[in-house]
Symmetry: C2
Amino acid sequence: MPNPKPGAPVRGSTTGRPLMAALDLFGRRWSLRILWELRSGPLGFRPLQRQCDDMSSSVMRQRLAELLEAHVVHQLPDSRYELTPLGRDACLALGPLAQWSERWAAVLDPQPAHRNSDQPTDRTSHPDTAGDGTLQPGSAG
Amino acid sequence: MPNPKPGAPVRGSTTGRPLMAALDLFGRRWSLRILWELRSGPLGFRPLQRQCDDMSSSVMRQRLAELLEAHVVHQLPDSRYELTPLGRDACLALGPLAQWSERWAAVLDPQPAHRNSDQPTDRTSHPDTAGDGTLQPGSAG
DNA sequence: GGCGACCGCTTCGGAAAACGAAACGAAGGG
DNA sequence: CCCTTCGTTTCGTTTTCCGAAGCGGTCGCC
């Protein structure tokens, strides 16, 4: 199982298109999060782990190895992890996503300051697939 | 385990910060890919599956259900899947990432004109990107 | 020098997620 | 009717993730 890398076939793509490789690399659990948490400076292994809500160290090591190989992250002499310039760019590319997430939150959970207009509920299909999934975002903390 | 949703605790984050929820939602296999493949218009289940390199139907259905619940994707009366306006925004937020991936490819495997390279991958042009990485979220809508 | 508290990192067993192929009923064309 | 395609579900297998414990090492402290 090769790590995703542009120019090499990645999971689900034999073309090796860069974006597909990036989607594979970042479409792994905690990849984006690690990137995000490193955005404000280098961090050691355990501090980074804590910053990532105590994710499992085994997975973190694996993600870190992938990110190191992808030259998105590098390791300082004191063994801390730091974004490479390329990694910082990737982090910048995450900016729009962060902005979007705010909009997303607003749409899913409109602030009940003025309960006049409801969201356009176009849920035509969804008969009984979920059952246990509470879909209404009404109780935001 | 509930689907990621801003305002609710998601995997690895008790804060419910929108970005963390988004990172959880999109940090699942094929999520980003599905979003990406829908960018140029609505697709039916099997066509979308083929577009996603024949990913497993079970996982696709699950991702689709999550995306539907997140109001990122909705289903047309003819049962095709289409990005919501919110989903199109998310796709736009992916634009910088697509641009980044091109830079990433260049850094990992520089292909200078005067230098021999043994990369067997055709990366000269891709229908998915507009050459310079400028992405059009599709004229659908 | 011994002790406890961190550190980066690995190992391992169990849980969850992804996979992939088969199958279902419905719709459409010949 | 037959054959294909469709959306979707089911199920057994493989992969990934998790999470806690443990390794050797360094540091401050007494």
